[in-house]
Each structure stands twice: as C-alpha cells, then as structure tokens.
C-alpha cells in the first residue's frame, strides 16, 4: 500500500494505492479517472509537465513562456531544460508554435504558451 497525491490538477486528491500486484494496481481516493492513470504511471514510469521560458528576439518582451505539450518522462526534465537554454525565437510568436520538436526523442514537442508581437 502506498499513499500519494495526484498532481494532475489542483484538487490534489489523496490516493491510496495497492501495488502488491503490479499487473493489477488498485487505486482509491481519486475524484476522477485521471487519478487512476496517474497512480499507475507514477509506479511504472513517472511523468511530469515541464514549463519554462526562452529568449525571443525583436519582440515586445524579452522572454516567451513554453511548455511540453504533455508530460514527459521525469528523468528527461533536466535534459530538456538544457536544450531550451540555447533557443532564441524570432518575434512574432504564437501560442502553440513548436519551439523544440520531439524533445530528447520522447515524442513530445515543446510549444510556446504566450503571444509575442513584434516590437
């Protein structure tokens, strides 16, 4: 039995997870089905969303915020952040623009989350 907190949304449900049989993980305490998926992933292959900001040239502000389109394997967090350090985008930037495609080969893109207009 393990206690964990679902981090999928700000409700932060307190989950009780029976992982005695990895083929049949039982979860209670979740408000919605995403809690079950979270608990199973957390035991087998934990994933996290990564958000950050990268430089933008010629825009109305100096940095544009970015995120992974979906959660990526936890062990790739710092590798993907390292790649972001070298990126400089050109204004304009739109929400959803791909900043790095298929980051670290995990199949997930990093995309922009803010509108930047030309200065």
């Amino acid at each position: 039995m393990r206690e964990m907190i679902c981090i999928n949304c700000p409700m932060g449900c307190r989950l009780t997870v029976d992982d005695s049989n990895l083929q049949d993980i039982k979860v209670t305490g979740n408000i919605c089905p995403r809690g079950v998926i979270y608990a199973k992933n957390e035991i087998t292959s934990p994933k996290r969303m990564v958000t950050g900001s990268v430089k933008v040239a010629g825009g109305n502000i100096a940095m544009v915020s970015v995120k992974t389109r979906e959660a990526i394997p936890k062990h790739l967090i710092f590798d993907s952040l390292e790649l972001l350090k070298d990126v400089v985008l050109q204004a304009p930037v739109h929400i959803g623009d791909v900043v790095i495609a298929d980051v670290c080969g995990c199949g997930v893109d990093i995309i922009a989350t803010k509108e930047i207009t030309k200065a």
């Binding site: 964990m4 907190i5 679902c6 981090i7 999928n8 949304c9 700000p10 932060g12 307190r14 996290r48 969303m49 990564v50 958000t51 950050g52 900001s53 430089k55 502000i61 100096a62 940095m63 915020s65 970015v66 995120k67 936890k74 967090i77 952040l81 929400i95 989350t113 803010k114 509108e115």
Partner: protein, 418 residues
C-alpha cells in the same frame, strides 16, 4: 467629465471575466483600466501549468489561460486601456486614472468593479533582523525576473514561506540551475496546494522545514547565509537550536495582501479577516454600485474560482445599472468553530431565491469534519470532508430552497462539526 455605465479597475482574470459577463448580459458601455502594459494580470508571470481545469476542462499555463479571456474581451470589442493607473475612486463613483495617452482623466461611473488583485507582503511587513545585503527578494518579484525578464536572482537560495508562490519558485529556480537549499515554513502545515509540495519540492529532494523561521540574514553587500530556527507553539523562535544555512539569495513568500487602497479611499468597508471588502451575494460592497471580485476580495488559489466569482460580479453590476434596487437590510453570515471566513460576508434580505455558491477557508487542518450551514440553529446544509486545510479553499453550493431558508432567518452560521 466622461460618463460611463461600468468601469472595471484591473485587467487581470477577475477584470476580464467581469467585463465579458457584463457584455453578455447586454451592457455595452464598459471600460477596463489596467496599470501594466498588457492585460492578464499576475497570470502573465505564472508560466507553470495548473490553470483552467474547471473552466476549460483542460490544464493550461497562466499566459494561455489569460489569453483565452483576453481573446473573449477583444472579440466583443470591449474598450480597455493599458498603462492606465487608477489613483482614486470616490464615494460618488468618480474614477480618476492617469495614463500617458489620456493624461489625468476622470470618469463618472454608474457602477464600478474593483478587480485590482493583491500584492505581496514585503520584507518590512515581517520582522527579520540582520544586514540589508542584496539578495533578498519577494518570491513574486523573483518570478517576474526569471520568467519575464530572463534574469536569475541568485545561485543558492532559501525560501521563507511554503505558499504556492514559494513552492513554484523553488522548482523554477531549480529548473534554471540554482540550488534551493530549503523551504522554511513558520506554521506546522503548508498553505500551498499539496500537488505543489509533491511536484516542486519532493521531486527534487528539496527539504521543507515546518515550524521553522528565518531569524537572521548574514552578509553585508550580498547575502551570505540565513539563520534558521525552530519555533515553539507560540511561534517564538528557539534560539539555541538556530542553524546557519549558507546561501546568496533569500526569497520571501510570506503571503499576499489584497490591494484595497482604492476601496478605502472610496469608503468601502473592509473585513479584518480577509483584507477585502465586506460583500453581499451580488459581490456588492457597502457602497451602492461598487463591486469587488478576485484576489482583491480574498486570496484565491484557483484562477477558475476567480473567473466564476467575477462573472457573477459582472452580471450583478449590470442588474444594478439597469435599475434593480439594492436592498437595505443585510443578514450577516457568522463563521464559527474553525471556519475563518466566508464570501459572501452577508446576504440581502430580499426575495431573490437563486442557487448560491459560498467560498470559505478554515483556520487550521481538521480531519473528518462536516462543513455545515445553520439558519436560526437548524441545519440547512452539510458536507462531510475527510480533511480540510487553510491552504485549500472550500466551496459549497446551496439550492434555491436553502437560500430561501437562509434569507428568512435571523441568524446564519457556518461552522465545522468535528
């Protein structure tokens, strides 16, 4: 003097949602005044994800959530001014603002919605001894420096306060290559969301010291360390157990204060619990036609709740403009036995019996309790909760019948049955 029906002070999520709702109720004469260079408020610097699950059924980052509302305001052609700071709101609803484009301008409004958000408690607001070296920042200032200006405030840091801003900044600093040596929390619990403790601290093995505080800051030109000590039950530091943590940066995340200077100037009665206005179920203050919503009213942890509350304020402001009489008699909502406050603070003694939503916070962590509403000593509503905590706002929905019972009562009480 220009005359307008509705002036909204603040273009953050609260102001934007109020404007949109007012427009959708048929009001066309609306102006939003925003002090910063862009709309969106504090969300512009909250680049992490965690916004909008309730409103949009998907999880967005702060800037994305803001953009959804900015788009809705722009699509409707609602008038707004950026770089426009409101400097006064008078009792007879004259709004004075300054901007580079319009200079000093006064508007006579029929209704005003105050949606000015909150600001961080500064270092002066808490007492820490020590040198005044560089390297002490409020967490929100640090957030703006890192996320918007692209500038790192330091390499090794300690964070005082485990509210959401402190937790989010612990991860953000770690992501940008800094070492976060500790998060120090005065209380025996965190006022932040549980998910943030998991994904911002536990994921990176950042220690969180409950019942501890910073008692001294070392370093003359630049911070070189902070002295951290445990506190006793009366929150007094136990000095002989104090320890030095070396660091070059201290981030203060010691709470948010609603920005109610304008409200005060306008004669709005404030609650000494929330720091925000005393409002009825229409989000109207004691001044007829002056409404308040969002973080200026009470500090929210979920922007979705801000949007919902503010849409209600927008709707009610339009009803007021269209000549719905405001009601003279108010019934106070009393909070007892561990319930710290409730918004609304009072109900109108009228016959408008519509379903209502109440938001409240508790004063401590309690397990296995029932959140209950009483009218003249009779239980009208009850909701069992496995655990309630000061960091998580509680929300209850009352039916039209329950609201009718409350509005006919002499005494309303919200309480925790333990």
């Amino acid at each position: 003097m220009r005359k307008m029906n509705l002036v909204i002070v603040g273009g953050g999520p609260a102001g934007l949602a109020a404007a949109k709702a007012a427009y959708d109720c048929g009001e066309r004469d609306i102006l939003i005044l925003e002090r910063e260079a862009e709309l969106g408020g504090i969300l512009n610097q909250c680049i992490h994800n965690g916004f909008g699950l309730h409103t949009f059924k998907e999880e967005l980052t702060g800037p994305e959530y803001a953009q959804r509302y900015i788009d809705q305001v722009v699509e409707r052609g609602i008038e707004y001014r950026v770089n426009a700071t409101v400097i006064d709101v008078s009792k007879d609803k004259v709004v004075t603002y300054v901007s580079a484009v319009d200079g000093l301008t006064q508007i006579q409004a029929k209704a005003i919605i105050l949606a000015c958000g909150c600001r961080e408690r500064p270092r002066g607001g808490i007492n820490i001894a020590g040198m005044r070296g560089a390297g002490v920042f409020s967490a929100g200032t640090a957030q703006k420096l890192v996320n918007i200006d692209g500038y790192m405030p330091g390499k090794e840091c300690v964070i005082l306060g485990s509210g959401d801003i402190g937790l989010i900044m612990a991860r953000r600093m770690t992501f940008e290559g800094a070492k976060v040596k500790a998060v120090v929390e005065l209380m025996p619990y965190s006022s932040g969301l549980n998910r943030n403790i998991v994904q911002c601290l536990n994921d990176f093995d950042i220690p969180l010291y409950f019942s501890h505080t910073v008692v001294d800051i070392k370093g003359k030109d630049r911070v070189t360390g902070v002295v951290v000590a445990p506190v006793d039950e009366k929150l007094a530091p136990i000095m002989d157990k104090a320890e030095l943590i070396e660091c070059d940066t201290l981030l203060l995340s010691v709470g948010l204060l609603p920005e109610n200077e304008l409200a005060k100037q306008g004669g709005v009665e404030l609650s000494n619990v929330t720091g925000g206005a005393v409002v009825d179920e229409n989000m109207m203050t004691n001044i007829d036609g002056v409404f308040e919503c969002g973080n200026v009213l009470h500090v929210h942890d979920l922007v979705d709740f801000v949007s919902a509350e503010s849409e209600n304020a927008g709707k009610c402001a339009v009803a007021y403009i269209n000549g719905l009489e405001s009601c003279a008699e108010k019934i106070a909502i009393n909070c007892t036995n561990g319930v710290r406050y409730c918004v609304p603070t009072q109900l109108n003694r009228d016959d408008n019996y519509q379903p209502l939503n109440f938001k409240m916070r508790v004063a401590n962590v309690f397990k296995k309790v029932e959140l209950a509403v009483f009218a003249d000593g009779v239980k009208v509503f009850g909701k069992k909760r496995p655990v309630v905590a000061p960091g998580e706002m509680e929300s209850i929905n009352l039916t039209a019948e329950q609201v009718e019972t409350l509005k006919k009562a002499q005494h309303i009480e919200i309480t925790l049955i333990k």
